[in-house]
Amino acid sequence: MELRLSEVTKNYEKVTAVDGISCTLTRGVYGLLGVNGAGKTTLMRMLCTLQKPSSGKITWEGQDIFEMGGAYRKLLGYLPQEFGFYPEFTVYDYLLYIGSIKGLRPAAARQRAQTLMKQVGLFQERNKKMRKLSGGMKRRAGIAQALLNDPAVLILDEPTAGLDPNERIRFRNLISELSEKRIVLLSTHIVSDVEYIAGRIFLMKGGRIVLSGTAEELTDCMAGKVWDCLVPGEKTGMYLKKYKVSNVKSVHGGSQLRILSEEPPAAGAVPEKPSLEDVFLYYFGEKAGDEDVPV
């Protein structure tokens, strides 16, 4: 089980959306983390054979995926970022239809659809029309759809967008379970989505992977660059301008700041254990997102 990208590049007229990415994916969960426009969707669409790279090659077990065609798509499950469905179909019908175009036999499709509806918590809604589902429920139907053919390569473009915290936890557990026998690549803006479940995290910026590693590896390289210090209220503004600050908390007598800096930013600053959010902020330069405000 090996999906290999070599020097994969995608140029649009003006921008290079994906710029010479090389990596090898094997069994496990991969998190693709990046700001808007980093090129995540473009990369994923190429992995789903929806777009051809301008240059470079993508191979599955050594074979070019575009040459494999159906043989590769058979192994593929994809949840697009802009996930469209058939509004007048019921959830169940929708899954049966996608099952049929994925080549499942009707009986197998029925069974699989029922199992998945239970797994993603849509069984109660199975006879509801898709257009009547809430945003998060639609997303869950999308996840179920991607899993119908029990794919070896599961590609999820922002699967957690619109899910409530309960569902997000449930989703994380589902993905962990699923990753035992397949490659899962998921993109997100939300650090906590991948922090615990992704075996490997790619930080993507301007079409390139600027950093990759396990969550520990990424945080380790930030060791000694995260500081906690208490500053007087009137100086808070100055610190915010000068440093990348990952957290501000008003406390009695001033502000408690979490600052990213090579040197101690102030006397009395205490080194902190870096988190993945700190890494994100450090590399992407702006304010890191919290759970519900994507960057």
Binding site: R45, R73, Y86, E88, F89, D93, S100, K102, G103
Partner: protein, 406 residues
Amino acid sequence: MFRFEIKKVFSRTGSRIALGMLVLILAVICWFAADVSYVNEKGDTEQGLSAVRSLREAQKEWAGVVDEEKVRQVIRENTRIRNSPEYRSEDVRQQEIAYSWGQGIMDLRRLLNCFYEENFRSYDYYLADGLSEEDAPEFYGNRVRLLREWLSGEAKDQFSDAEKEYLIREYEELKTPFYYDYMKGWEQLLEYSPTVIMITVLILGYLVAGIFSGEYQLKADAVFFSSLYGRNRATAAKVQAGFAIVTGIYWVQIALYTAFVLLYLGADGANCPVQITLWGWKCFYNISLWQAYGLAVLGGYLGCLFLTFAAMLTAAKSRSAVLAVIVPFAAIFLPSFLSDIPWQNLGKVLALLPDRLLQVFNALPLFELYNFGGRVAGAIPILFVVYVVLTALLPRVIYEVYRRTK
């Protein structure tokens, strides 16, 4: 897959409304087609089924071979009516009574107006009144004579010698004497067939336009094309669904229309030649009424398939259902605007546009001819050949275009 494609089409509210409209419009057309009136001997106008019965009865009395003797009888009967005091009366009711007597020979009297015309292109409603029984023997000969005179006079430069010969030969080959029967059912059926067919095509165009643009509009294309069968079987299922919907609805529509009109007005006269009608007396295709109707509905089906496939192709290429819906509209309505362009070969082009297939009824009596290395053929057979080929190719083209989209 096929089943779900069909389901996608009919689950849209718009499609259901369109189907409802189709049924409604068909009902209206049937109502028009069934509009027959009859004036009884008291001079009162009857409507509805009783009028149909009376008219049929009156015309059945004149059914039979239209030989010289029959022509004589018609002229005699017409003269009798014209000379009756009722006909000459100033009183409207008396006139109506006189009219009522003429309903049995109405069709044949009209034919006299045509065949004894001075000139191929004129029509005089009162011409039959000036005929006498001595004119009867010239009845069939007149038709060919009028054509010959027209071809050597007014239309001298319109046709090549081969075409002229062809027309005259076809005219001479027409089997005479005609057989006459009550034929209101077939006449009405033919007359309204273009309307039924065109409306059906427009609505079918609307129904199938979404098959190939729906995924893009709904943004469901990514899942579709990244699936195992997205670029082959599922695309083929779309083409098949389009074909099935068009075929099913077209023939149900035609069956309903035909059954209603023929059951209501009667199917008598199926074997009468088209040349026995006012509409078709000049027609150089020597066919009967039922054959003409057969051509009309088959042509309609072919045209319908061609235009709806063209709409599907447009949708597959442009990803827009709106553009696709416009295709059948343009095909039906543009040719009438084009006809104003002053270009000598325009007629030859217009006669082969797909809208002609939808209105075989209107195209049958036209003198549209084509030459191929000395052989002459009429536009209708050429239309059929050309569009059978094109229509057979289109599904493949749609399939290839759609499956290759990026």
